[in-house]
Symmetry: C2
Subunit: 148 residues, 2 copies
Amino acid sequence: MDSMADRLRAKGLKVTPQRVAIYGLLLDTNEHPTAERLWEEVKKEHVAVSFNTVYTTLHALIEAGLIQRLHSGNAAHYDADMAPHVHLSCQVCGEVGDCSADIGIDLLGISPRVQAATGFCTEKVELTLYGCCAHCATTATSIPRAKH
Amino acid sequence: MDSMADRLRAKGLKVTPQRVAIYGLLLDTNEHPTAERLWEEVKKEHVAVSFNTVYTTLHALIEAGLIQRLHSGNAAHYDADMAPHVHLSCQVCGEVGDCSADIGIDLLGISPRVQAATGFCTEKVELTLYGCCAHCATTATSIPRAKH
DNA sequence: AAATATAACAGTAATCATTACCACTTGGGG
DNA sequence: CCCCAAGTGGTAATGATTACTGTTATATTT
């Protein structure tokens, strides 16, 4: 079967408990945690792992094209969903989520049009909306201050 | 006339040589420099300014809604053009530019649709394309290594 | 299944961007 | 012209990320 381990091996990456744990967590969640949050989750799970290894592992997974890194604030967020999609970054709670709804944007079609118009060769498209998520809007205790 | 100074005063900001220099540079260029690059440019111009002041000034300008901050890499880039537009981030030379061509994306229309679908209240939309700019593609001396 | 080469891990230290702090200076309304 | 809130500059601190190095585990070979 096409397990995580197979996918790792297919990219020439050794299969270690740490990698399986980190990649598995990213695949299971539809949130997009930061490296630090991911580290806490991994430790909570079962696996002893250093903070450094989280970074190096994430870097290895990015190089292998298995996950992507999002520039959605001051700290990097990581996403196992490689299909281009819209991200919602809440400036109050700091969470980054997907926009599940179809908002009629053809993200895939952008690259060829830009290439034709400007000669820019696109490798990755990132569409991020910054604002206040529905949850934080209701529990409006703190004033939304943009804390990039 | 609607000078820089007037715009600063209208936002309750004092007009200092440092602010005029920094804001002026951002208005003049259609590049989107980082804070460090901006610092070098300001010093080159005429004004003695500390690196710290560049940051605080940029922050003040952002708060006033006169410029915007872009999350287009590891370092922040700044843009005096407040209209939502597409950015092209070259992973080879690190420059961030505008996509002048119309690529048929309705950036303004996204916010209300997302609000209706998910309840997310959008304050700012950022659409960035990561890849290799036309210039770096021709002078292909270095291998494009995604540094993120 | 043991040996071996190679890649990964953990811990610390270093780097880079950004922010905080505080004493001193300055713009601009009264 | 004077005063004071706001701005500036210098240094120090923080937070995120990367580099380095000795040790350990994986996958492959024998």
